[in-house]
């Protein structure tokens, strides 16, 4: 299998795609357009035959680990099974080949689906206002913070600070910053939960929002949640819930019920939309009713038809464009519809009871792994967890020079994707494991066995790991210091 680049496979004069003769009168482009507009030659793209293109990309794909091929316990990413029915149904032409600026009269099927989905998101979160426009979790954070800003602006408030936990995803402070807020960090306590004293100290009349992840990135549900709720709201601030960890609590507890005023979902995590090698995701947000009018749009509404003759025309669905108090848009068109359709199919597949079972089995799997792993790896924050847990390689590093990174690299040789490492920052040499509910006990056992064997293996073997992959331990430092960010003829010659 070649790992040549497309550009190295190129040969002048080759061609894959071809349109036929025009069926309309041809025009002389050079006459029609001014010379100022026209390029002398088309862009210097590679020239390839279809067979080469296909083989190239098929072979490249096999260099990836993926959920379809490997257990992928990447903490915080919820790499669950991506159902094939989702892909098939979302690819129906009536969903896939619909133009975003079509008139809503020809979109009643899709709008019905999206309307129902808004309702499901509201029900699962306990927060009635829903906008599905944001394109990703971080985008949802930003959109929700813009909503909060609009709210405070209307209140005439000058609250300008967002508090984030030190265990939070990096997107939290970054989103706050983009939304025009200043940020302050709230510490975690020894149990990995919010340090209430620190929270109290930082809450004041400038505090706009406290961004909370619950269960947090340590996989712990913050048992102080009622107190946090009280403190933040008493201070006149809002609580934002980072929904990255929703897979732990579906049907068990609802953000709206434990104090959140705004939140986002990651449907590509929680609701099985595939991760696409890094995206696309989606980042629908839910808010309390008093915040709903600020939501970005469009959102879907419906009107009952009095003269309906069948189920199909019982309601007419409409898009409500942003206007008035809305913050406007955060991206073009409706949103990441394809991802949302998949989420809808997933939710319909499980139903309410089923969804609770998802979280139950996710929690069961994580606790099972934890119960095995704690015998040979430190788990600083307790014996129990929700859907994931964070172990630490700190002792191993001292005793055996075996870092979290080494474990991550070596486990690849055993045929498992690595856990998340070095996150959250509050745990030294963090190894963050999230099995999800769609792995068998056999797989979990094999993973534990591999982890254990690694802790017993020789240093050298591990430091040179992985051994079974095409490449091993790429030089990140040089990559960043002397960046080569595109192919050029010269680069092609110098490195193969």
């Amino acid at each position: 299998q070649s790992t040549q680049l497309l550009f190295e496979l190129s040969r002048a004069g080759r061609r894959a795609h071809r349109l036929g003769d025009l069926d309309v009168p041809s025009v002389n482009v050079d006459d029609l357009f001014t010379a100022e507009s026209l390029a002398e030659t088309p862009p210097p793209l590679p020239e390839l035959a279809e067979g080469d293109v296909v083989r190239h990309f098929v072979c490249l794909s096999t260099l990836n680990m993926s959920v379809d091929t490997h257990f992928y316990p990447l903490g915080s990413c919820t790499m669950k099974y991506n159902p094939k029915r989702n892909e098939r149904i979302a690819s129906l032409p009536g969903f896939l080949n619909v133009h975003p600026l079509q008139h809503e009269s020809g979109l009643q099927g899709l709008l019905e689906l999206l309307y129902e989905l808004q309702g499901m998101f509201a029900e699962i979160s306990g927060l009635p206002g829903v906008s599905m426009q944001p394109a990703a979790g971080a985008h949802g954070e930003l959109a929700a913070l813009l909503v909060a800003a609009a709210y405070f602006r209307e209140q005439g408030s000058d609250r300008s600070v967002v508090l984030t936990a030190d265990s939070a995803h990096g997107t939290n402070p970054a989103s706050a910053q983009m939304a025009g807020f200043k940020t302050k960090t709230v510490k975690s306590n020894a149990n990995g939960l919010v340090d209430l004293e620190d929270l109290k100290a930082k809450l004041d009349d400038k505090t706009a929002v406290f961004m909370l992840t619950n269960p947090n990135t340590l996989g712990l549900f913050d048992s102080q949640i009622e107190e946090i709720n009280q403190l933040v709201h008493d201070a006149g601030a809002l609580i934002y819930l980072d929904g990255a960890n929703m897979n732990a609590i579906l049907g068990i507890t609802r953000p709206g019920d434990f104090g959140a005023d705004l939140m986002h979902y990651n449907p590509h995590k929680t609701f099985s939309g595939p991760h696409g090698g890094g995206g696309p995701g989606a980042g629908p947000i839910c808010v309390r009713d008093f915040l709903a009018k600020y939501l970005p749009g469009p959102i879907v509404t419906r009107v009952e038809n009095e003269n309906a003759t069948s189920d199909d025309d019982r309601y007419t669905y409409h898009l409500t464009s942003p206007s008035g108090d809305s913050i406007g848009r955060v991206r073009s068109f409706f949103g990441n519809t394809g991802v949302l359709v998949r989420a809808y199919i997933y939710l319909r597949t499980y139903g309410g009871d089923g969804l609770r079972h998802v979280s139950e089995d996710a929690v069961l799997g994580a606790n099972y792994l934890l119960s095995k792993v704690k015998h040979f790896l430190d788990v600083p924050h307790g014996n129990r967890c929700m859907h994931e847990f964070v172990a630490s390689a700190s002792r191993l590093k001292k005793e055996k020079h075996l870092s979290a990174m080494d474990i991550a690299k070596r486990i690849l040789d055993y045929g498992f994707h690595a856990p998340t490492v070095y996150f959250p920052l509050v745990v030294d040499e963090a190894v963050m494991v999230e099995p999800t509910e769609t792995e068998s006990k056999q797989t979990l056992d094999a993973f534990v066995e591999a982890l254990f064997r690694i802790t017993e293996e020789g240093e050298e073997l591990i430091h040179d790991a992985p051994h079974s992959t095409r490449i091993s331990r790429p030089d990140d430092v040089t990559a960043a210091r002397r960046p080569v960010l595109k192919w050029t003829d010269a680069a092609g010659e110098s490195a193969t």
């Binding site: 357009f33 390029a39 490249l60 990836n64 019905e112 971080a138 970054a174 994707h417 490449i471």
Partner: protein, 467 residues
Amino acid sequence: MSYLFHTDEDRREMLKSIGAESIDEIINDQVPEAVRLKRPLNLPPACNELALTAEMTRLAARNASADSHVCFLGGGAYDHFIPAAVDEIASRGEYYTSYTPYQAEVSQGNLQVMFEYETLVTQLTGLGVSNASLYDGGSAATEAVLMALSMQRGRNKVITTDVVHPQYRDILVAYLKNIDAELVVVPSDENGHSKPMIDAIDDKTACVLIQHPNFVGQLESVSEIAAAAKEAGALTIQVFDPVSLGRLKRPGDMGVDIAIAEGQSLGNPLAYGGPYLGIMACRDELVRRLPGRIAGQTTDRRGKRCWVLTLQTREQHIRREKATSNICSNQTLLALRATVHLSLLGPEGLKETADHCIAKTAYAKEVIAKSERFEVVGEGPSLKEFVVRDLGADVAGLLAHAREQGLLAGIDMTPMCVGGSEASEPAVALPSRYEQCFLVAVTEKRSRVEIDRWANVLCEAPSMATV
């Protein structure tokens, strides 16, 4: 239950290892009683694959699509042809069920694709560096503006015009509302050209944002505008159409600093607006401010060429509040599709696609102009999009009539004009000259038969007004 694995026996064994009586015990241990949900979620009941497939098939069939109807809609999303090989490759589980390449050793497929994508984007744009994708064209335009603002401390003015995509401007308005920046939307001239913006550029201007071809299908004087911006010390941001570059000059060759585009046209389905692909490229010097992931080349410990995520000190997971943007996920799967698509097209295929769009658009303009009811708005040639005025002043009725005949005949521009329902504030409106106009896009997919039928149906539509 659907995708779950554990049998009751599995669960028993696992609980035993945990030392818990039940899963509830584990959960109740952590989730305080007061916040637990005491009832089942009120969702529709579980539905099996057969029944759900049948139901969703019926639901999908209730939508007009570019399959069931002939599509002349554009406005930032286009019905271009997607070769079968693109779908075949993008539907491989190794691509669509993998994630961000945190472990480079087992992500070389995605990383190489990202590197190839970046290279293709630089070849396409004539700019030095590309990221590995952003959410969509609209948010990418705003990210480019934020990037320019962050580079140009002391300058807080952003200049654009009223023929840049209204939704893109809408995003800009939303993002800029809480930060120290001033948005100036300069009116275009009567031909829909943005040249008047040049006069607005001053020493407070951080950047100018133009679209070429613009929202109403007109070509802009990009080089001239960019030169003026440069002279004033401002950056030029161009929204481009990837397909147009089969024929038009590249942004980098016209003095543009940051080029962004909606990449949907490159092998990605219409999908009711998303997921789409935000393309962004910039001059080399701007790379450390570029938002989004970037893949770079390096060597592994055995000296083999390979690829990694690089320059991560720009990114939120390292820099947190000091990151260049909050963007975390990107659109790798859509970037993959664009990469495959461009590989299949090559330079000649891209040129041929542009040529077919040009010829078919010219033909459509010709046949619609034959009717006394219609008038093509704006001078000059079109790439694939143009504006038609309904002298009968009944665009909504006209397009509804066409829909009944199986045609998505154009986009009604009236609601986007000043005071229209989609123009939430002046900054996002189209000039009022586009009232009772519709926007038409003609891609290489449209056959002569389809264009003729489109013209016939429109010309024979009943009209409320008398011409």
